[in-house]
Subunit: 376 residues, 2 copies
């Protein structure tokens, strides 16, 4: 087992009706900035539930946070936060809204420097406290300390994180996910599945409990995912998927093991260049990366193959993974998204950043375009 | 899935050499009270490592905390804490020392009332902050908010807990466990195993991820436990057992599922009356409880049987569990501990408390003596 530090102070409120109890977690005094996206929460009743929990507080609102939240948009919220001196942020929405709100929380007090530098490693010194009500299970952002922000002008998608950016609480009511459409639902399942693989499919370090936790999430997603696709109002299936998504990226299964994240890094470029949904990029890239890394990932691929798919051949397990995604309704080939050329740009952008990807840093920018060509 | 709240803010520092980094977690100013047990930490070098991490701080010491820590002993530490106005407590030892220190932390500011009332449901309003360095993996106390305290005069063993009693940090260096003797090591493995079963072997609520997490801990203990018994200096096996013990009772696997705890409640009486080690009582009581509850626990027992022991018959799985304990070196029969009569007292004491035990509250005090008679 590798040495590790595990810290996750987010209080998770989980289950039917839990948004009502958010009121007990919110400060009684001060200004609260409610942040959300395009307004779906006004259609599905979550906005009303949030407002009820906020009753008696001074509340401001900032809406219009887009998927792959844009720096340019968020800086408007930062301005409001500074001008109004807000004391708490309440994010209501999916991972993009939560990620966005973490950035707003860190950028409000980051007044002496350019906040974009937070996306280039400048440390968060302080952050406005925040909590969230999650409506789209996928990214795990509701109980971790990281966020991914895009800069439209620079066509960049970058990560930042700080222990100061953990949501204080996360309210997860599976009923709020009944109204998600198929694309959002599939995206969430695939995102969580790949999050697990990024922390599991590397090389063994004698950490059997972490392996079993990771495998538990994978098996549950394989079992519960199709149920959700079949019946969007299946409460237990929605709850199980939602809980899997949180556990996939709250730091637990990644403790004491090597990490990969090559699929994510390449996927971020595909989103930045072509505008694909985050999970779509993962479904496209993952099989290519795994087949390219058959030898360095041999031992864990064999374990994955046996324990998850009851198969003997790693390639068959990679194909089974892709079939699982496709049967959920996810397209896994670049041409299915209308992309058939210009793939050199992905490698070039990674080369500019000087990236060497994967748990062995052996996936070089020069490898990426050929890998993507297998995914046409 | 049942609704739940999951909150665990303890920062876990895990691995070889991690005690050195405790220095970064300790307050720089104020008085720190170092609490420990009978002095084994002076023999195995942990005391010296702790003192090094404490360098530059004002440190007081309180030693002599016994296994099944006694209220009478702890009140002496409470007096010191009040008189010296300590600002932080650092527990160094096993679950008993950590439990004891939680009580000391809550009792120091609980000055207007009798602190024993904390063990009878009086709420903790404030507590001195604390952290811990764990040397005996077993109870999970290092990253949960509960504690069990015994009153020698009253011959009682009672539980209390509060979110204010989470250790701020827990340093877990598996190397500190190399010097544990066989009895301590076996106790820890059995304690963790039964902690899992208390939260897993109840009835299904469609929570497959929690089931798989619980099963992951059980399988890892079954695999790694014998390795530790064979080679006490096997770092990875020690690390895996240590991590299992923490995960068995940090609130995670118990979230969203029913709980049993009948074995623990009966076991506490056996410790209070006969002085058996906590884990010894669990090993004695568990098989009796499970065989008594074959019908209400039928579905989960069948799952346990298939997934953990690859068997078809629940009774065979209960026997396999007992054999696992025995092969680790744990005695599982009352007569092996010199107890052959007077078992009525256990039922009588539970009756006095008005307990109805188990996930269905269907194990009544009148059932307990006959159950124990099957364990002679």
């Amino acid at each position: 087992m590798l040495n590790f530090t595990f810290y996750n102070p987010t209080k998770v409120l989980f289950g039917k009706g839990c948004i009502a109890s958010v009121t007990d977690e919110l400060p009684l005094k001060g200004k609260i900035l409610l942040t959300y996206g395009g307004g779906s929460i006004k259609k599905n009743g979550v906005y009303d539930q949030a407002k009820k929990a906020l009753a008696g507080r001074e509340v401001l609102e900032f809406s219009g946070i887009e998927p792959n939240p844009k720096y340019e948009t968020l800086m408007k919220a930062v301005e409001i936060g500074r001008k109004e001196q807000v004391d708490f942020l309440l994010a209501v929405g999916g991972g993009s809204v939560v990620d966005a709100t973490k950035f707003i929380a860190a950028a409000i007090p980051f007044a002496d420097e350019d906040p974009w530098s937070l996306l280039h490693g400048a440390p968060v010194k302080t952050a406005v406290p925040m909590g969230c009500i999650l409506t789209l299970p996928a990214t795990g952002s509701e109980s971790n300390s990281g966020a991914v922000i895009s800069h439209e002008g620079k066509k960049q998608k970058r990560f930042f994180g700080s222990p100061l950016c953990f949501p204080q609480f996360a309210a997860l009511d599976p009923e709020t996910t009944f109204t998600l459409d198929k694309r959002q639902t599939v995206n969430g399942i695939v995102d969580a599945y790949v999050h697990v693989l990024e922390q599991y499919l590397t090389y063994p370090v004698n950490n059997p409990l972490q392996d079993r936790f990771a495998e538990g999430i994978l098996l549950t997603l394989i079992e519960e995912g199709p149920k959700v696709m079949k019946d969007p109002n299946d409460y237990d299936a929605r709850a199980n998927v939602m809980w899997c998504c949180t556990m996939a990226l709250n730091g637990l299964i990644g403790s004491g093991v090597p990490h990969d994240w090559a699929t994510h890094m390449i996927g971020h470029e595909l989103t930045a260049i072509y505008g694909l949904d985050h999970a779509q990029t993962l479904a496209v890239v993952l099989p290519g990366i795994l087949k390219h890394q058959l030898i360095p990932k041999n031992e864990k691929l064999n374990q994955y193959c046996r324990r998850i798919w009851n198969l003997q051949d790693p390639v068959a397990a990679i194909d089974a993974t892709e079939t699982f995604f496709r049967e959920l309704g996810m397209k896994t080939k670049l041409t299915e998204y209308g992309i058939s050329k210009g793939l050199e740009e992905v490698g070039e952008r990674l080369a500019e950043k000087g990236y060497a990807l994967g748990e062995h840093q052996d996936i070089l920018p020069g490898h990426v375009t050929p890998i993507l060509e297998t995914r046409l």
